[in-house]
């Protein structure tokens, strides 16, 4: 069976590694890398990949230019733009040259696998010789070839209708507090449809299939139904997303994606924060106003270390999925060896701190970051689930290197730094042991937030900076 060719074009080595590790699980691909747009074009010409994961910001030739050239020559190549910024202008430009699939950073590996797998299965169908394995089991025609699971509701009375309504509301709305206008219509439509059953008091079944970003809802009545004009009018509003035929009704419903949830959460926080500033009128109004501006303009100011929205988002990701250590370790494969070998780095971590204690030179501080901290980070980076942790440690390392001279000249700062880094090292050791050796934690992200805040606070303490969480009013007493 011929493998599909997948090209990963990204100038950042860490990103390439993460993408490669993510795609490696999908056995149907043969993978090559390109380090810039120019190389991507060259490889596209010589190797003709089926799918390209294309970073947008790259040196020599950017992802847009490269995509344009490749799409002109090979219109069948599917290009997935990998981008950190949500910019509608860029998306419009990309759309014009035929790039409509996006993966947003920070990378959600499940989503990448999902997108790649669906694209791969459409290639399989086109290329022939592959079995279409899901067609037979799929119930709802919108759900053409995506593996899915089903939830079945037997609607026998009004209570069962409510139950379905509540379930859908929870699943659809998730973390969003306010109900969107679109969802309101959906609930109303289902309510009206379920009420059709009531006329003869007969039973109906609702089967919900789900993919990563859509629901496929199929309603099966015992007998053919005649829909009232009111319902038909409502159905018209949904256009081609619904089908009603005899005793079956099928609908497709997009889930609100995580990004939107986060964005909405953040904007709500800004609103709440503004409101609380107005209500409480505490002395430091100006400072808090400043923080609100920081969140809104996404600019950081020097003297206050604020959690920026991208950091917030990184951290938030850790909370979305709960994974047990045992499940996780089973999945990571060969990287486990590298993790276990980190114990030698942990020893070196302590040795290097001792060295700094006896000789607190600028070079020794920089050496600590380069040959201990960053080595640790590199391994964590290849774990892809720990983006927040890797980020926190990386930025701490950058901070130490940037301020190595100042720190090295201040004996009390050195003392504090050594003490805090000793604790951080012990935290990392215990994190590594619990997750990878003992594998006894119910959620691998249990220490993420502690690491994140420790790193920021170490930065704050050593740099004499105020640390601030951009989270409503930071504390509340009941």
């Amino acid at each position: 069976m011929e493998k599909l060719r997948l090209l990963i074009a990204d100038d950042n080595e860490d990103n390439r590694l993460v993408l490669r590790a993510t795609c490696r699980k999908l056995e149907c691909f043969e993978i090559k890398d390109a380090v810039d747009g120019l190389e991507a074009v060259e490889i596209a010409e010589s190797w003709q990949p089926h799918i390209i994961l294309m970073d947008i910001m790259m040196p020599k030739m950017d992802g847009y230019e490269a995509s344009k050239i490749i799409k002109e020559k090979y219109p069948d190549t599917v290009i997935i733009a990998v981008t950190g910024v949500l910019d509608s202008r860029v998306e419009d430009k990309m759309s014009l040259i035929g790039v409509d699939i996006y993966i947003h950073k920070p990378i959600d590996r499940e989503l990448i696998r999902f997108k790649l797998q669906s694209i791969a299965s459409s290639f399989r169908l086109k290329l022939g010789g592959f079995k279409d394995r899901t067609k037979a089991t799929v119930l709802n025609p919108f759900n053409s070839d995506i593996p899915s699971y089903k939830t079945i509701f037997d609607i026998v009375d009004a209570e069962a209708m409510m139950e379905f309504g509540m379930w859908l509301f929870d699943r659809y709305n998730g973390k969003i507090m306010a109900v969107s206008g679109k969802f309101d219509k959906v609930i109303e439509l289902f309510y009206k449809l379920m009420s059709q059953r009531d006329k003869d008091g007969e039973m109906m079944t609702i089967i919900v299939e789900e993919s990563y970003d859509e629901f496929y809802i199929t309603m099966k009545f015992e007998k053919a139904i005649t829909l009232e004009q009111k319902i038909l009018d409502m159905l018209n509003e949904f256009g081609t997303e619904v089908i009603a035929q005899e005793n079956i009704f099928c609908a497709r419903l997009s889930k609100p994606i995580e990004k939107e949830v986060v964005a909405q959460d953040l904007s709500q926080q800004v609103q709440t924060k503004k409101a609380s500033v107005e209500n409480i009128k505490i002395q430091h109004t100006n400072e808090i106003e400043k923080e609100v501006e920081v969140i809104e303009s996404k600019e950081s100011i020097k003297e206050v270390r604020v959690i920026e929205s991208n950091e917030k988002e990184l951290l938030h990701q850790s909370f979305v999925h709960k994974t047990s250590a045992a499940d996780y370790v089973e999945e990571i494969g060969d990287i486990l060896d590298e993790i276990l070998e980190l114990s030698s780095i942990e020893e070196e971590w302590r040795e290097r701190l001792n060295l700094i204690e006896t000789d607190p030179s600028e070079d020794n501080l920089i050496d600590f970051v380069d040959s201990v901290l960053n080595v640790y980070v590199r391994v964590i980076n290849s774990l892809f689930e720990f983006t927040a942790l890797a980020y926190a440690l990386t930025s701490l390392g950058v901070f130490i290197k940037d301020n190595a001279k100042i720190i090295s000249e201040d004996s009390s700062k050195i003392k504090t730094m050594i003490m805090l880094f000793e604790h951080l090292g012990e935290d990392l050791t215990s994190w590594r042991e619990h997750i990878f050796v003992l594998q006894d934690t119910a959620d691998i992200h249990y220490l993420d937030s502690s690491f994140f805040s420790s790193c920021m606070q170490i930065e704050g303490i050593i740099g004499n900076k105020e640390v601030s969480a951009d989270d409503e009013d930071c504390m509340e007493f009941f």
Binding site: H445, S450, F452, S454, M475, F478
Partner: protein
């Protein structure tokens, strides 16, 4: 008499930063500072009477016992029913706040916390 403040967090670095922030209060003998890495150990010590506190600051996400469950268990004990507990959290979700309120915790604080905020909230809660 110095007020006994206990912090429970599975991260040594978080405990160390809190201790640094409270250095002034500790040195002036305003508070006595004690930390636990393991919430189960603290709960046992409280239950067998070998430990006591005037204020407890607890992390939420800990593998052995979640901070809210710890607070619930402590609040269920007559001896500690009225003692203040502050929850340290990164995600201040409404749901979490609500359950904290329900359990009867005194308040919550978002990590990372500034020295000043930690000191202020301690002064407020302990009245020192």
């Amino acid at each position: 008499m110095a007020k006994r403040v206990i912090i429970v967090d599975d991260s040594r670095a978080v405990i160390a930063t809190a201790e640094l922030a409270l250095e002034g209060m500790i040195n002036s003998n305003t508070i006595e500072f004690k930390s636990y890495l393991n919430p189960m150990e603290l709960l046992e010590a409280l239950q067998n009477g070998s430990e006591n506190f005037d204020l407890l600051i607890s992390d939420v996400n800990m593998p052995e016992l979640n901070g809210l469950d710890l607070a619930r268990a402590i609040k269920a004990d007559e001896r500690y029913k009225n003692k203040p507990i502050i929850i340290l959290t990164t995600e201040s979700s409404n749901e979490m706040k609500m359950s904290g309120k329900e359990i009867g915790v005194t308040g919550w604080m978002v990590k990372p916390f500034s020295d000043e905020k930690l000191v202020k909230s301690l002064q407020m809660v302990l009245g020192v």
